[in-house]
Symmetry: none
Subunit: 416 residues, 2 copies
């Protein structure tokens, strides 16, 4: 039977929205990987009564309680005394920590002020988690049927102490290993995707399948549980195959980071080079492609042709075409793709022109975008998008579509 | 007496650590600004019993409950029926939403599948929050002494709906108005900035002053509380003046969205045009500048010269210079800035070349970046940056520095 854990983050700065609770995310990921279920996260301020309330609740609904924050030396750091009190434990002075703190301050030429002493006070009988990334130690103890772990709040301390102290401490409770894999989908909405595979989602128990929406794309997560990582991975394999067969070519990758990663891989596989010509996306397309390490082997460069003079000058597009059809037109998009390909001597060229908004342009509403892809081998193709409003949304959806058109264009190469 | 709110985030993906609960952060900030106290955040999965448990608890300990997530069309989106059930309300079909969804799908040429219908089912008598950033509407209602608000989970929908729908709905509960203003700083670290104004931060009560670190830059937030927005704003004025006088020209703006907004404003004020030439940043610089609405009046275009052939070809940089000094050199950065300015006939040109990493290039370690700015009036200047590791970090810090160099170059215009 799987153990359950609850994460209780302590700190008024979280309730004021000064920081996001990224610790809970990292801890949840780590617990999920060792098969410990998390049913609740709670965030509570530096207030003893409300901390006690949160702890009493967590005691009832989870086997393992992990707190973050409130271990430091200042007056509002009250986690240890409050948690220890809740479990009827006293705080005792941990000599090793006192010594470590003294040398920590000495090394940095800083003064060891009296309030630092409180960081060495820990629940009696606990396992001390030495903090090599800061001053306040963490700890773990078992009491009243609960396992309690306390970690510092700053992510630069919490994350390594989770990995090197808390996870090794918790691994004895792990009854299984979970492996999650992701099928990445572009060109089908979350609800359409779910409809297409609903029978599989509903019927599966191990692995489980869950749909998620991302900006402009979506994914299916396949999660299997088994005694070992290898067994769990093997369980996902037939399900991944079944789902990708069903979904077809809207699947752009399995366990890849992004569409740009797939595009760069396809370019490399096919020994193809790419160049971009962008208007409304202003360089975001080339920016995303070059975010992939190693993209320099296949990406030659781009022209951000924001003004019409750059389109007709540097990009050599006939002024008459721009005047007749408008800068936001299928004709101009195609010429952008073709001309940038010739200018940069790349195998594939892509052109994007549109109205990012707010407000219309050339009598075309915001969200009107033309994307063209061109190669010597397979000619040019162009798509007209109607993306609605939201300047950054229009721009990033255009970038995604441009990358997917390049991907589909490259599938031709693969099949020849 | 201030009202209290609890944020209940619903979504198994949060408990698995797939995403951080950034919605809770943004909502907490917004509530804090209108004087509503938040004492707890709860995160719960897509499980009806546990959602009910979280809601019953929130009912007892807060006046206002704000849920996020679970409003979408798929089988695991159960927030509305569960919340409505908890307050004894039925879901009814909201015709306006049905119509909006139909046109949403029609405009995008996508299929309206039956499961989308569930998004138009809303608690009887609720105030519907129209979603102009996605499909699922939000809503608000009063029942059993509680105020309940439901917002979608994706931050791209949750954040604007919070601002345009939820905050206006909640403002009637605010007992005072808080006004927060931001002093934006580039070129000084958070701790140096805090040291420079520490006496002011510590002594102030209304307004309060708080320092925050952002990626590569930082800000000081000045927050005043008063009976009206005008009074609160007036309280911030002398403090803003005192702080900006103290900090000097590292302050790039007050209450601006970003450094790119300041750059575009300065270009417009001075009737100047800009062009960019980018290597390691791959178009991210032009991408950020063109994110500012109206940038087309001052930004002509850019060249992403990723391969050396594009640098020596299209950008017309002497091959010998590249061979002698390397593509990552002060000399090449200056020529990139000068040549793109001439090619695009802009007043100011900016060039960025560097090693984004991972791994060195041309015997230069990752993080070595040269940024140059050039204009006919004030000549060229170049900076060498040593940014350390992390490909995306190096690229975004380079973009920030390039924008700040353009800003400082433009201050010359202003002073003439």
């Amino acid at each position: 039977m799987s153990k359950t854990a609850e994460i209780v983050a302590i700190g008024t700065e979280l309730l004021l929205g000064n920081i996001a609770n990224t610790d809970a995310q990292v801890i949840s990921q780590a617990l999920s990987e060792i098969g410990i279920n998390v049913y609740f996260h709670t965030v509570v301020g530096d207030n003893p009564q409300r901390i006690i309330q949160a702890l009493e609740l967590a005691k009832k609904r989870a086997d393992i309680i992990i707190t973050t924050g409130g271990l430091g030396p200042t007056y509002d750091d009250i986690t240890k005394e409050t948690v220890a009190g809740c479990f009827g434990l006293k705080l005792v002075r941990h000599e090793e920590t006192v010594e470590r703190l003294h040398s920590f301050f000495k090394e940095r030429g800083a003064k060891y002020t009296a309030n630092n002493e409180s960081q060495a006070m820990l629940p009696e009988g606990c396992t001390v988690f030495r903090n090599d990334w800061g001053t306040a130690p963490g700890c773990a103890f078992e009491a009243g049927g609960s396992t309690v772990i306390m970690l510092p709040g700053p992510p630069s301390e919490c994350v390594p102490m989770l990995k090197f102290c808390a996870v090794p401490y918790l691994e004895r409770f792990a009854d299984a290993v979970m492996v999650s894999r992701n099928i990445r989908v572009y060109g089908m909405g979350e609800s359409a995707m779910e409809n297409a595979v609903r029978d599989l989602i509903v019927s599966m128990e191990n692995p489980t399948v869950a749909p998620y929406a991302l900006t402009g794309e979506c994914r299916l997560r396949v999660t299997a549980k088994a005694a070992t990582r290898e067994e769990a991975y093997a369980l996902t394999e037939p399900v991944i195959k079944q789902l990708t067969d069903r979904l077809g070519d809207v699947v752009y990758g399995i366990d890849v980071e992004s569409l740009e990663e797939t595009v760069v891989s396809l370019l490399r596989e096919n020994n193809c080079t790419l160049a971009t010509a962008e208007s409304c996306t202003g360089g975001l397309l080339s920016g995303r492609i070059t975010s992939v390490p190693g993209s320099s082997a296949v990406f030659l460069g781009g022209i951000c042709a924001y003004s019409n003079d750059v389109k007709t000058g540097l990009l050599n597009i006939d002024r008459e075409v721009v005047e007749k059809h408008g800068a936001v037109s299928a004709e101009v998009a195609v010429l952008m793709a073709e001309n940038v390909r010739r200018l940069m001597k790349s195998d594939v060229g892509v052109g994007v022109t549109g109205v990012a908004g707010p407000g219309e342009s050339e009598n075309k509403p915001a969200g009107t975008v033309f994307v063209a892809v061109s190669s010597g081998e397979y000619g040019s193709e162009v798509a007209e998008l109607k993306l609605g409003s939201g300047r950054e949304r229009v721009r990033s959806l255009s970038v995604l579509r441009a990358m997917d058109m390049v991907r589909r264009h490259l599938l031709n190469w693969r099949q020849r």
